[in-house]
């Protein structure tokens, strides 16, 4: 058997193209597998170490205060002496009036809720709400066994730049900042910044940064450990390391710093359990009583508020986890796709080799060699391919790991240390391909070698005519001789035809992947922003009344879907993890907002008849027009779906504002404004009262730019994958063309002996599989669309986003042109081999 191996090994020299194809495919799959998994491992290990070392919070919340009953007059008095010392005169007057009402010295008659809204705004501005709750918090901390700290920050926006200022406090025990380089900001007007921000803005330690006309000296680079993903503002959902910055400063500097304040309680359980952390979703409470966080939130609903600020904080600390599993899944799926293609190529090589050595094998079997030992010798192809491709792929993967890790850390503030090699990836890079390819190769060899020695020794199978050949002969009778000859050559061996067809299908799958991927995210953004006519979305802490002629007034509320019933009254099942939605109350007459469906029809007028969902909700939950959905609320609100707007980010449901206010039993109010008023461009252009009432301003110009920048990175990754895919498609097509010449050597030689010229022969022989390449390319389009939909749904499950997968007829046509171009190039190369086929081949007995 050793000699049979040696014979097969030496035979590799004659199968260079095919062996290079195998090695390249295994190398690509191993490189991608190793580089991605190594990068993700580094991130994941560093992430969990970082959480422990910097004592990063488990979650955060703000207290729920009933300002009419939860605070006493004496507490307000105390606050007037302390935190409200720096308040403006008008603010102090309001607070004093509030104290008087609490002590019964005055009564409120009109606009009671508005008055308490004002109080709430002032209390939040000066963190008085947190201070007032301190005793309550101490009791809760003891009861639920956690420690807590007040986390405060100020966010300032200046043109494209957004700065988040945090006090550097050495007494901090939760969310300890991480100094990368330089010194802590101990003196006035000293700051630390993010290192990438400094690099991107040509700044160094020792330079000055001017913010709102104040010069700050940069003394170091530091991470805020609760901002692993630095989601500074909802206006920039993707961290922009050129324009977004987190700055630490001392207390005095912070007090002078202008910006929109935000404060929460950050909580750290006394015994950290990362399983609980993993179970804790940004949606809020967990029903499991094993989860102490979930238990706390459930039992203390009404005392604590898990609002947007808390959700944003969870995203900052936990979002990186969304990189781990989806990327691993994608990498493994892609690796198996590549290996699946390799499997076809190895099948082709094995079959060809056995065909070529049929006579020798017949003699060996006659002499007494059994099928198994002969079949085993053909394992040399997958073994060599896997060894070389696997090892080199692993090494390339290790080299690629650094830039890929850097790509991740451009978005995540995580200190990444040295590389740790995991030999498991080397084993998998070599063993998995070896096992897969060897298994198939062995099965094919056993199947082909099942014949008796005499059958292998018989004259060539050219003499056999299968039933399909006879049918083709009959059907092609009216055609010219050349065309009949072509089709008879193609159909004479169904096995070969099947192999060529399947390899064409694989090449088609890869080309369709290229076409769909190229424009995937960009078209998503374009469709989503197509109908955004406003520049700013202004959100308020509390409900506002009134009218603004320059804006669309919106009442938005977070909710979740509890049931979906179709138009026939049947309950639909749905993924409850995707059931969280934003309910958006709109007026019938709007200046900026336009709800448009797939066919460009305006849907706003339909709001009087029901609700409109967006395409993200439709895809994630399987809701259609005519369905009735019930929302979680005190009154279990149910609405019928009357339209679907084309929108791929967030899960929004649109409803008439007046109807929503009525259902929520509140006066006609709003908490969000869509406007293009330029006063919202910068904090400095707003009045103090308005700044205090605003919780966030989303600048859509910035948002779109921010998303496009992020998508550019996605596109880069996709282009790299597309590059691989295109290369593989070319390899496969080259293999097909190579096989055609080899398979038909005898016919080619005979035709030369008879007097046909090389050009005539290549026209007949090399083009026999052209129709099948076209047919299977066309078949690959719907198949790849379904495969991608399945992969995308696995990945986007965690991030509640539906990504549209489609290919236009134009793109499909381009793909066809591409595959045919590659096919004809490969055939042109194969012509060389055809021209070299000697006449003597025709004279040999088979």
């Amino acid at each position: 058997m050793k000699l049979l191996f040696i014979n097969a090994l030496k035979g590799i020299r004659k199968k260079k193209v095919q062996m290079i194809a195998i090695i390249t495919l295994v190398l690509l799959s191993s490189a991608i597998y190793t580089s991605m998994n190594t990068s993700i491992d580094r991130l994941e290990n560093e992430y969990y170490d970082y959480l422990i070392e910097q004592n990063v919070e488990e979650f955060s919340f703000t207290p729920v205060i009933d300002y009419s009953t939860d605070i006493t007059g004496s507490e307000v008095d105390e606050l007037l002496e302390t935190v409200f010392v720096n308040a403006s005169e008008s603010e102090k007057e309001v607070v004093e009036m509030y104290r008087d009402c609490l002590t019964g010295q005055c009564e409120l008659n009109d606009n009671v809720s508005l008055f308490y809204n004002k109080i709430e705004t002032i209390f939040k501005k000066y963190q008085a709400d947190l201070i007032v709750m301190q005793d309550e918090m101490d009791k809760l901390a003891e009861q639920y066994e956690f420690t807590y700290e007040i986390e405060s920050a100020k966010v300032y926006k200046e043109d494209k730049y957004i700065y988040k200022a945090i006090v550097y406090d050495t007494s901090k025990k939760i969310n300890i900042p991480y100094l990368i380089e330089g010194n802590y900001p101990t003196n006035d007007n000293e700051i630390t910044v993010l290192k990438d921000f400094a690099l991107n803005n040509d700044l160094e330690i020792g330079d000055y940064l001017t913010i709102n006309s104040v010069d700050y000296k940069i003394v170091g680079y530091m991470f805020a450990s609760d901002n692993i993903y630095p989601l500074i503002s909802i206006s920039t959902p993707f961290f922009d390391n050129k324009y977004n910055n987190i700055i630490f400063m001392n207390e005095a500097t912070y007090q002078e710093f202008s910006g929109v304040s935000e404060s929460v309680y950050s909580v750290k359980l006394n015994e950290t359990n990362f399983d609980n952390r993993a179970n804790f979703s940004s949606s809020g409470t967990e029903e499991s009583t094993d989860n102490p966080i979930g238990t706390f939130l459930e039992e203390q609903t009404g005392v604590v508020s898990f609002g947007i600020d808390s959700i944003l904080r969870i995203i900052r600390t936990d979002m990186i986890k969304s990189e781990f599993d989806p990327n691993r899944t994608f990498t493994e799926a892609f690796m198996y796709l590549l290996l699946g293609i390799s499997v076809f190529v190895i099948g082709v090589i094995t079959k060809k080799r056995i065909d070529d050595e049929r006579l020798q094998i017949g003699v060996l079997k006659s002499l007494g060699y059994n099928t198994f030992s002969i079949a085993t010798s053909y394992l040399v192809y997958p073994i060599i391919g896997s060894l070389i491709g696997g090892i080199f792929g692993y090494l390339i993967g290790i080299l690629l790991n650094a830039p890929i890790t850097k790509l991740f850390t451009g978005y995540y503030n995580l200190p990444i240390n040295g590389l740790e090699f995991d030999s498991k990836y080397l084993f998998n890079s070599v063993l998995i391909p070896m096992l897969l390819l060897s298994s198939l190769c062995y099965i094919i060899a056993l199947f082909m070698l099942r014949k008796k020695p005499l059958d292998l020794l018989k004259e060539g199978s050219n003499l056999k005519v299968n039933i399909f050949s006879k049918m083709v002969t009959f059907i092609t009778k009216p055609l010219s001789f050349k065309k009949r000859f072509k089709y008879s050559l193609a159909f004479r061996s169904l096995g070969k035809l099947l192999i060529v067809s399947l390899t064409s299908l694989c090449a088609g799958l890869l080309i369709v992947l290229t076409l769909i991927g190229m424009n995937l995210f960009s078209s998503m953004i374009d469709k989503t922003f197509e109908n955004v006519n406003y520049d700013y979305v202004v959100s308020y802490y509390t409900l506002q009344e009134g009218y603004d002629e320059n804006a669309d007034l919106i009442l938005s509320k977070e909710s979740s879907i509890t049931s979906i019933v179709d138009s026939d009254g049947n309950e639909k099942t749905f993924d409850e993890e995707s059931a969280d939605i934003s309910l958006i109350g709109l007026d019938q007459e709007l200046k900026y907002v336009d709800l448009v469906d797939n066919d460009n029809n305006t849907l706003v007028s339909s709001l009087q008849n029901g609700i409109i969902i967006n395409s993200n909700v439709k895809e994630l939950l399987g809701i259609d027009i005519g369905d009735t959905i019930t929302l979680a609320d005190n009154s279990n609100l149910s609405y019928q779906v009357v339209g679907i707007v084309e929108e791929y980010f967030t899960s929004n449901i649109y409803i008439d504002r007046a109807t929503l206010c009525e259902d929520l039993e509140t006066t006609l109010s709003y908490n969000t404004k869509y406007t293009s008023d330029t006063k919202y461009r910068s904090n400095s252009e707003l009045s103090e009262e308005e700044i205090n009432s605003i919780s966030s301003i989303i600048d859509f110009v910035d948002l779109k730019r921010n998303i496009e920048n992020r998508i550019e990175i996605f596109n880069t990754v996709i282009y790299v994958i597309i590059g691989f895919a295109s290369l593989m498609a070319l390899i496969i097509i080259a293999v097909i063309a190579n096989i055609i010449v080899e398979e038909n050597k005898k016919t080619i030689s005979l035709m030369k002996v008879m007097g046909y010229k090389n050009k005539e022969i290549s026209n007949i022989v090399l083009n026999i599989y052209t129709p099948f390449v076209v047919i299977f390319y066309l078949l690959s389009i719907p198949i790849m669309i379904e495969i991608l939909k399945a992969i995308i749904s696995m990945i986007t499950d965690d991030i509640n986003m539906a990504i549209p997968i489609a290919i236009s007829p134009f793109m499909a046509g381009m793909g066809l042109v591409g595959i045919m171009a590659a096919y004809y190039v490969a055939i042109a190369i194969s012509r060389k081999a055809l021209n070299k086929v000697p006449l003597a081949v025709a004279l040999k007995r088979e």
Binding site: M1, L3, L4, I6, N7, A8, L9, K10, G11, E357, L359, Q360, G362, V363, L364, K365, S366, L367, G368, Y369, N370, K452, P453, L454, L457, R845
Partner: protein
């Protein structure tokens, strides 16, 4: 002499298109140990079919094929393979050697099947290829290649060697060298030889000539004396 092979009333029918063809029609033949039998006949006479069924490469429709009393016609394919491995050697018109192995390695392919202790080099010397031991097939002439295939078949010391047109692709001079090699092996190792040919001259080198036509043995001729290959008429 002791009987090596007993072919008893063997018939072989096979389907060609829509018709049934009788390749062998009630053939009976005994082969003695150490004998050289030459089966002679024109194309389509059934001589190759007789060789194939006798060697277990093909099945029979009826009859028996006995080797030292054992009917191999009833053996399973696996058992036939095992039987061939231990007892039989084959030489075909087209040599079917492994092109990526040299002479020594090709003979080793055969030798590794047997349990004998013969040195591969000795076998190569027997067939007169000692100077070509490390050459590859494309470096050898047709006759030399055929001698390699003989050495490969001989390397496991088979009891019977089946040769189907061993000189069919060779010229007279080379063909006679090959025949001399076969005779040498027969004399040295007492290997029973069954040679199929259409060349009446070759038939003279054997102990008996079995003439066939239309699937039947039409004549059996005993050679009083073997003719040396260099003396036989060719063609």
């Amino acid at each position: 002499m002791e009987k090596m092979i007993e072919i008893k009333d063997v018939s072989k029918l096979y389907k060609a298109g829509k018709e049934m063809t009788k390749a062998l029609d009630h053939v009976s033949l005994d082969v003695k140990k150490g004998e050289i039998i030459v089966i002679l006949g024109p194309s389509g006479s059934g001589k190759t079919t007789l060789l194939n069924v006798t060697s277990g490469l093909d099945n029979i429709t009826s009859g028996k094929i006995l080797y030292e009393g054992n009917n191999i016609a009833k053996y399973s394919d696996h058992k036939k393979t095992s039987f061939r491995k231990k007892n039989l050697g084959f030489i075909f018109q087209t040599y079917n050697l492994l092109e990526h192995l040299n002479v020594y390695e090709n003979v080793l392919v055969g030798s590794s099947l047997g349990k004998n202790n013969d040195n591969v080099t000795d076998i190569i010397n027997t067939v007169g290829l000692e100077k070509h031991k490390h050459k590859y097939m494309h470096e050898l002439s047709g006759g030399e290649q055929q001698r390699v295939s003989i050495a490969r078949a001989l390397a496991k010391r088979p009891k019977v060697m089946f040769c189907d047109e061993p000189t069919g692709a060779l010229d007279e001079k080379t063909g006679k060298i090959v025949l001399e090699t076969l005779i040498k092996i027969n004399e040295e190792y007492q290997t029973t030889m069954v040679i199929v040919t259409h060349n009446p001259g070759i038939a003279l080198i054997g102990d008996r000539i079995i003439k066939m036509n239309s699937g039947q043995i039409i004549e059996e001729i005993v050679n009083e004396k073997r003719t040396k290959p260099q003396d036989i008429p060719w063609g």
